[in-house]
C-alpha cells in the first residue's frame, strides 16, 4: 500500500506537468487528498506493521499522519482559492509542490529509522522552498533562501547526531538501524555520546519544529508564504520536527540521560516562550505574530515532554489541537488579506463590519489558540501545569504562567483591534474582495473539533496518544 501511495503520488505530480490543465490539476489534488485519507485508514487498520523495510505504522506516526490527512482537504481547497489568479505554470508548480511536500511529510511520519527520517525531513525542505517562493518577489526569494539555508545547516547538524548513534553501535551500518534495534544498544552506550547526539538532534530538528534557537527560519517563511502553506509549515511540518526529536527522546529514555534531556527540553521550551512573548508584544505583521504563537505552543510541547508523566499526554494532545486551531487561523489569514489587502497590523481594522464570518473565526481561533475554555488546548495546558506542580518545578511554572499572560495580552489586543477598531493607518491602495462566508466552513469545522475535545475526548484518540508514549517511563 505504501509503495503504491508513493508511486501514485509521483505519477500525480508528473501528470500535473504533462496535462497542463487547471481542471485536471484540481482533480489530481483532490484525488491526492482522498488517497491520503485512505492511507491513514490503512495505517490505523494495520498498526505496527512494517512495509518496505524502512516504514512502520506505529502510533505516533499514524497520529501525525492522520492530522495531515484531516488538514489535506482544507489546505488544497484554500490553495485553489489562493492561486485562482495565478498563471497556469505557477498554479501547477504550487499544487505539484504541495503534493510532494505532503508525500515527504507522510514518509517522515512513518519512517522507522533515523536516516530515512532524516532523508524525508531534508526532502521536505526542498518542496516547501518552492511553495515559499510562490509569489516570486524579492522578499519571497530572501525568505526562501533563509529557510533553505538554515534548515539545511540545521539538518546537517541533526545528521551529525545520527552519525553519533553509529559511534555508539560501532558499526558503519548503524545509520540504517531501526529505532527498535537501536533501543537494545542504548544502555551499553557512553552517556556522553548520547548527550551529544541528543543535543545535535534537538538543535538540528528545531529548524523544523520551530523551537528556540532555530525558530527564526519559520518566522521569516511565514511572512511571505501563501497562507495555506503557512498553515502546513506551522502545523504538520512542525510536527515532523517534533516527531524526529520525540523519536530520539523515546529511544534514549531508558538511559541515564533522561533527566538531562528533560532539563534541556524545559530550558529550550522556556526560552521559546520568552522569545515568543517578547516578539508578540511588538509584532507588526499579523502572520509573523501567528508564527510566534506557534513558537510559543512548541515551547509548551517541549516543556510538557520535559515534565514527563501526564506531560507526555499533554504534549501529544497539544500537538493535535494546535494543528487544527493554528491551521484554521492561517486559512483565515488568506481571506483577511483578500478583504483588507494587508497583513500589517496598523493597516488592519473594522473586520467585523467587512467580513463577520471571518471575524467569528478570528474570535473562536483566538480563544482556542490561547487555551481559554472551552478550547481543548486548555486540557493540555492544565495537564502541563499539573505536572509542573507534581514535580515541584515552581520556577518553571511561574515563569511559564507570566510569559503566557504576555502572550494572551499581545494576541487578544491585536485581534480585538483588527475586528472592532478602525485601522491606525489606512493603506494607500487596497482592492477589497468580497469573500463568501461558505469559504470559512472548513475553519469552523476544525475549530469545532478543538472545542469538542475540551468536553469529550474520543476513546480512539485517547488510546493512540497513550500508545504513543507507552515506551516512555511513567
Amino acid at each position: 500500500m505504501l509503495l503504491m501511495f508513493f508511486i501514485i503520488a509521483a505519477i500525480m505530480v508528473i501528470l500535473i506537468f504533462l496535462f497542463r490543465n487547471r481542471m485536471i490539476t484540481k482533480f489530481i489534488a483532490v484525488g491526492y487528498s482522498i488517497m491520503h485519507i485512505l492511507l491513514s485508514l490503512y495505517c490505523w487498520s494495520n498498526s505496527d506493521a512494517t512495509e518496505l523495510r524502512y516504514f512502520t505504522f506505529n502510533s505516533t506516526g499514524v497520529l501525525l499522519l492522520s492530522i495531515l490527512s484531516v488538514l489535506a482537504i482544507p489546505t488544497i481547497y484554500h490553495g485553489f482559492v489562493y492561486t485562482r489568479g495565478d498563471d497556469l505554470k505557477k498554479f501547477n508548480i504550487y499544487h505539484a509542490a504541495l503534493i510532494t511536500l505532503m508525500t515527504f511529510m507522510s514518509g517522515a511520519y512513518l519512517a522507522n529509522g533515523m536516516t530515512v527520517l532524516w532523508i524525508f525531513v531534508e526532502a521536505t525542505t526542498l518542496a516547501v522552498a518552492l511553495l515559499i517562493y510562490h509569489d516570486r518577489t524579492e522578499i519571497a526569494l530572501e525568505a526562501t533562501w533563509k529557510y533553505v539555508f538554515i534548515c539545511s545547516a540545521g539538518i546537517a547538524l541533526a545528521y551529525l547526531g545520527i552519525l553519533f548513534l553509529g559511534f555508539i553501535y560501532g558499526r558503519e551500518d548503524a545509520a540504517s538501524l531501526t529505532f527498535s534495534s537501536l533501543s537494545v544498544l542504548i544502555n551499553q552506550a557512553n552517556p556522553m555520546y548520547l548527550k551529544i547526539a541528543f543535543l545535535f538532534v534537538l538543535i538540528g530538528f528545531s529548524t523544523k519544529m520551530g523551537l528556540f534557537p532555530m525558530h527564526t527560519v519559520t518566522i521569516d517563511a511565514h511572512s511571505v508564504a501563501p497562507p495555506p502553506v503557512s498553515a502546513l509549515i506551522s502545523t504538520t511540518l512542525m510536527n515532523v520536527g517534533f516527531l524526529a526529536i520525540y523519536r530520539v527522546y523515546t529511544l534514549f529514555s531508558s538511559s541515564p540521560i533522561l533527566p538531562f534531556m528533560n532539563n534541556v527540553l524545559i530550558f529550550a521550551g522556556l526560552l521559546s516562550l520568552l522569545v515568543a512573548a517578547g516578539y508578540m508584544l511588538k509584532a507588526k505583521h499579523l502572520k509573523r505574530m501567528l508564527a510566534y504563537s506557534s513558537l510559543e505552543n512548541m515551547g509548551l510541547v517541549a516543556i510538557a515532554t520535559g515534565v514527563g508523566g501526564s506531560g507526555y499526554y499533554a504534549a501529544l494532545l497539544l500537538i493535535v489541537l494546535h494543528s487544527f486551531a493554528k491551521s484554521s487561523l492561517f486559512y483565515q489569514m488568506g481571506q483577511l488579506s483578500r478583504v483588507l489587502g494587508t497583513f500589517r497590523l496598523d493597516d488592519c481594522g473594522n473586520y467585523m463590519k467587512l467580513y463577520p464570518a471571518g471575524s467569528l473565526v478570528l474570535i473562536t481561533g483566538l480563544i482556542s489558540i490561547l487555551a481559554i475554555p472551552p478550547s481543548g488546548l486548555f486540557i493540555s495546558e492544565f495537564l502541563i501545569m499539573k505536572g509542573l506542580v507534581f514535580n515541584n518545578q515552581w520556577f518553571v511554572l511561574i515563569t511559564a504562567i507570566i510569559l503566557l499572560c504576555f502572550v494572551i495580552y499581545a494576541m487578544s489586543t491585536r485581534f480585538m483591534h483588527i475586528i472592532f477598531s478602525n485601522p491606525r493607518h489606512y493603506p494607500e491602495f487596497t482592492q477589497s474582495v468580497k469573500v463568501r462566508p461558505v469559504e470559512t466552513v472548513t475553519q469552523f469545522i476544525l475549530l469545532g473539533i478543538v472545542v469538542i475535545i475540551c468536553f469529550y475526548q474520543p476513546q480512539f484518540l485517547v488510546d493512540i496518544i497513550n500508545q504513543s508514549f507507552s515506551l516512555l517511563p511513567r
Binding site: 533563509k146 539555508f149 559511534f167 558499526r171 555520546y193
Partner: protein, 204 residues
C-alpha cells in the same frame, strides 16, 4: 598517507580563519574536496566499486569542481571580492579558530571509543566549529554559503570516522545534502542581492 591528508585538511581550516579574499575561500573549498576524495579512497577499503564511484563523484565532481565553479560565478556576478563585512575582526576569528581546534582535541579525547578513530573525530569537530564560526561571524551571503559547505564536509568526515565502509543509505543522505548545497548556490546564490550580498528585508 591518510595522516598527511588529514593534517593538510586541518591546515586549510586554519587558513579559512585568516583569509580575507573570497577567491581564496573558493580555492580552499575545492582543495578540501580533493583532500576528502583522497581520504575516502585511502580509508574505505571494504567498499564496493559502485559505492566507490559514488563517493569519487561526490567529492571530485561536486565538491572539487562544480561547487567552486558556482561560487566563482556568484563572486563574479556580485563583484564582491573581499570578506570585508565581518561581524568580528579577522584577528579574533583566528583566536576563535585556535580555541575551536583545542576544544575539538579535548572533546575528541574525552570521547574515546574503540570503534572510532580519534583523529577523524578531532578533525570532524574542528571542521564543524569552523563552518559554524564562518556562518556566525560573517555577514555576506557568500561567506554563509562557504560556512555551510564546510559543515557539509564535517558531516562527510564524521561518516568516515566509524569504519572502513560507507553504506548506501549514508551516501544517499550525503548526496541529498550536496544536492541542497548546489541548489542553494545555483538558484539562490546567483539571484539573491547580487550587488550588496547582504540580507536586509525580513526583520521584526
Amino acid at each position: 598517507m591518510i595522516i598527511y591528508l588529514i593534517v593538510f585538511f586541518a591546515v586549510t581550516l586554519i587558513y579559512f580563519a585568516s583569509a580575507e579574499r573570497l577567491v581564496t575561500y573558493v580555492r580552499l573549498i575545492g582543495l578540501q574536496g580533493l583532500l576528502l576524495c583522497g581520504i575516502a579512497i585511502s580509508e574505505l577499503k571494504d567498499v564496493n566499486t559502485a559505492n566507490l564511484l559514488f563517493i569519487v563523484a561526490e567529492t571530485l565532481l561536486f565538491k572539487t569542481l562544480l561547487i567552486p565553479y558556482l561560487l566563482s560565478a556568484i563572486i563574479g556576478k556580485s563583484g564582491v571580492t573581499k570578506v570585508h563585512r565581518q561581524a568580528l575582526p579577522g584577528f579574533y576569528l583566528i583566536l576563535f579558530s585556535i580555541a575551536a581546534l583545542l576544544l575539538s582535541v579535548v572533546l575528541a579525547n574525552s570521547l574515546i571509543n574503540p570503534f572510532v578513530n580519534t583523529i577523524y573525530m578531532t578533525i570532524a569537530l574542528y571542521t564543524l566549529f569552523t563552518g559554524l564560526l564562518l556562518i556566525v561571524t560573517h555577514r555576506l551571503i557568500i561567506s554563509h554559503l562557504i560556512g555551510f559547505l564546510i559543515v557539509e564536509n564535517a558531516v562527510f568526515i564524521f561518516s568516515l570516522a566509524v569504519g572502513s565502509e560507507m553504506p548506501m543509505l549514508i551516501n544517499i543522505g550525503i548526496l541529498l545534502d550536496i544536492f541542497v548545497g548546489v541548489l542553494i548556490l545555483g538558484f539562490f546564490g546567483l539571484r539573491l542581492k547580487p550587488h550588496t550580498n547582504e540580507l536586509t528585508m525580513l526583520k521584526d
